[in-house]
């Protein structure tokens, strides 16, 4: 491949991730509105919000250091990098090398660190509380994610995302699907763990961290969050379904369909379930971790060559 094709592909891929990501929260909100019998906001609402926020000016606390602006920016860049690593359908990631799955996990961790850092920069106890909650849940979700990735790695005998995600997850597929779905909900602060609509100070996690941000940094945080949701939906679909074994157009269609199904699933969970009490959340996350761990055990002994 000559450099031109590579760069054109890279730009196309980047545009796909950046432009499609804000669609998912819109779809979730539409599903919730439909279940509740409301008309609901337009599906493209987040695009309007982002455009509006981008034109506004930034209000900065006198206490905050430049980290207040740098944090969200670095987090966004890390999430974009993580997105570019993901294979789409039969195509490998934009950058594919042995062990790129480790880079994916570390980029996600870097994004989380930077968001928490920017939240702490404001010097408000409130943001600190949000950051503390985010990080303490992340301890368990990261363990689950690592167990899931390990099980895929053991199942396929490879540590490259492209090869790992191509076949289906073997005997642990259902466990992995359930575990990764719970991780998706927890990582993106969705309902059983956190309510994205609430602005009640004692219950929010992710929102609490973004309270003092305004203008373009807030837009970057919101866009990054939607990209993270898309990333996890793509990861879940590709881990469970043997998408990489299909011909390219079918793979793209199946991937799009299953991402849509996951999104609608998130919307349904959000409409039908109440948020868990804080003391119950670690229990649910432990179940998610153990589900992924079981998938690992099954891959280790049940299906691997």
């Amino acid at each position: 491949m000559n450099p031109l094709t590579i760069s054109v592909e890279l730009i196309f891929r980047l545009a796909l991730w950046l432009l499609l990501a804000p669609l998912l929260p819109g779809i979730i909100n539409r599903v919730k509105a439909c279940v509740a019998g409301r008309k609901g906001p337009p599906v493209l609402q987040l695009y309007y919000d982002l455009a509006r926020l981008w034109q506004k000016s930034v209000v900065m606390s006198t206490l905050a250091s430049p980290g207040f602006i740098v944090g969200p920016a670095v987090a966004w860049v890390a999430l974009t990098g993580a997105a570019l690593l993901m294979p789409i359908g039969t195509a490998n990631g934009a950058l594919s090398f042995k062990g790129d799955v480790l880079l994916l996990i570390y980029l996600l961790a870097l994004a989380r660190f930077c968001t928490a850092w920017a939240a702490l920069e404001t010097g408000s106890a409130f943001e600190g509380m949000g950051a503390a909650r985010e990080v303490s849940y992340a301890v368990l979700t990261e363990a689950a994610l690592i167990a899931a990735v390990l099980s895929l790695s053991v199942q396929s005998g490879s540590s490259t995302l492209g090869t790992m995600l191509a076949p289906s997850a073997g005997p642990g597929a259902i466990l992995l699907a359930a575990g990764l779905f719970a991780v998706l909900l927890a990582e993106n602060c969705r309902v059983p763990f956190d309510d994205p609509n609430t602005h009640l100070e004692l219950t929010m996690i992710h929102e609490a961290m973004a309270l003092d941000h305004s203008g373009p940094p807030l837009a970057v945080i919101l866009h990054g969050a939607s990209m993270k949701l898309l990333l996890f939906a793509v990861l879940l679909s590709q881990a469970v379904l043997p998408i990489g074994k299909l011909p390219q157009p079918a793979a793209a269609a199946v991937l799009a369909g299953s991402v849509l199904a996951v999104t609608v699933g998130v919307g349904l969970v959000e409409s039908l379930m109440a948020r868990f009490a804080f003391r119950r959340v670690p229990l649910l996350l432990t179940v998610a971790f153990l589900l992924c761990l079981f998938a690992l055990v099954l891959a280790w002994k049940g299906g691997a060559q």
Binding site: I174, L175, R280, P282, T286, L290, A295, W300, K301
Partner: protein, 219 residues
């Protein structure tokens, strides 16, 4: 991958699902969700013999249908009825907390998987997850029996234990006469039926289903 046939793959998928349901039964704090986990597990296990047989056989299909009906619908229905009749509040009071019992169950499962591959199994069984799945389910049933105090959750533990034994019995599916299987199912149904009545009696006599209170003799 080449020695894998699709049938084994499907069976393994279902056994994996049953192992996941074990976790749900251990981790849920409400009686109805434990009963639901047990019922879904019964249905999942009921489907396995049909898949294992490969070709359609009337006897196997009938047996599977009866198992699914009994374990998936009749027994849970009886338990729910007993719960409603005895007015039990739905919170489970565990002797051992949820997270420790989850970790115990997970440890048991991992040990079961690790131990199974040291066992001298027949070559056609060594690639299925039947044995580790059954050991893990039996272990989960034991944990539920030991670590929960309410009579109904102990019944759920007993039924999950039976699910594990059933899974082990599937190894012999070609040689056990179906009369034995149907006898076991009948026993189960009658057992749960009787327990449904006893639960009501315990509730009336002691105003609680806490089995710790049953250790003291009264006039």
């Amino acid at each position: 991958m080449e020695r894998w046939c699709p049938v084994t793959e499907w069976v393994n998928l279902l056994v994996g699902l049953a192992m996941g349901l074990n976790l749900l039964a251990l981790g849920s704090s409400r009686l109805p969700s434990v009963i639901r986990a047990m019922a879904v597990q019964g249905v999942v296990l009921g489907l396995i013999p049909v898949l294992m047989e490969g070709r359609f056989e009337w006897l196997v299909a009938l047996m599977a249908a009866v198992t699914v009906l009994l374990k998936g619908f009749l027994i849970p229905g009886l338990l729910r009825r007993a719960m409603r009749a005895a007015n039990i509040d739905r919170e489970i009071e565990p002797l051992v907390g949820y997270v420790p019992s989850l970790l115990l169950g997970a440890g048991g499962t991992i040990v079961a998987v690790a131990v199974t591959y040291r066992l001298p199994l027949l070559p056609e069984h060594s690639h299925t997850l039947l044995v580790p799945g059954s050991l893990a389910t039996i272990f989960t049933g034991f944990i539920l029996l030991i670590c929960r105090v309410k009579a109904i959750s102990q019944v759920c533990g007993y039924l999950i234990l039976e699910n594990g034994i059933y899974l082990f019995g599937l190894l012999l599916v070609r040689s056990t006469p179906f009369l034995v299987e149907s006898g076991i199912l009948l026993d189960l149904a009658v057992g749960v039926f009787v327990i449904g009545i006893i639960v009501d009696r315990i509730q009336r006599a002691f105003d609680s289903l806490d089995t710790r209170k049953l250790t003291v003799l009264r006039e």
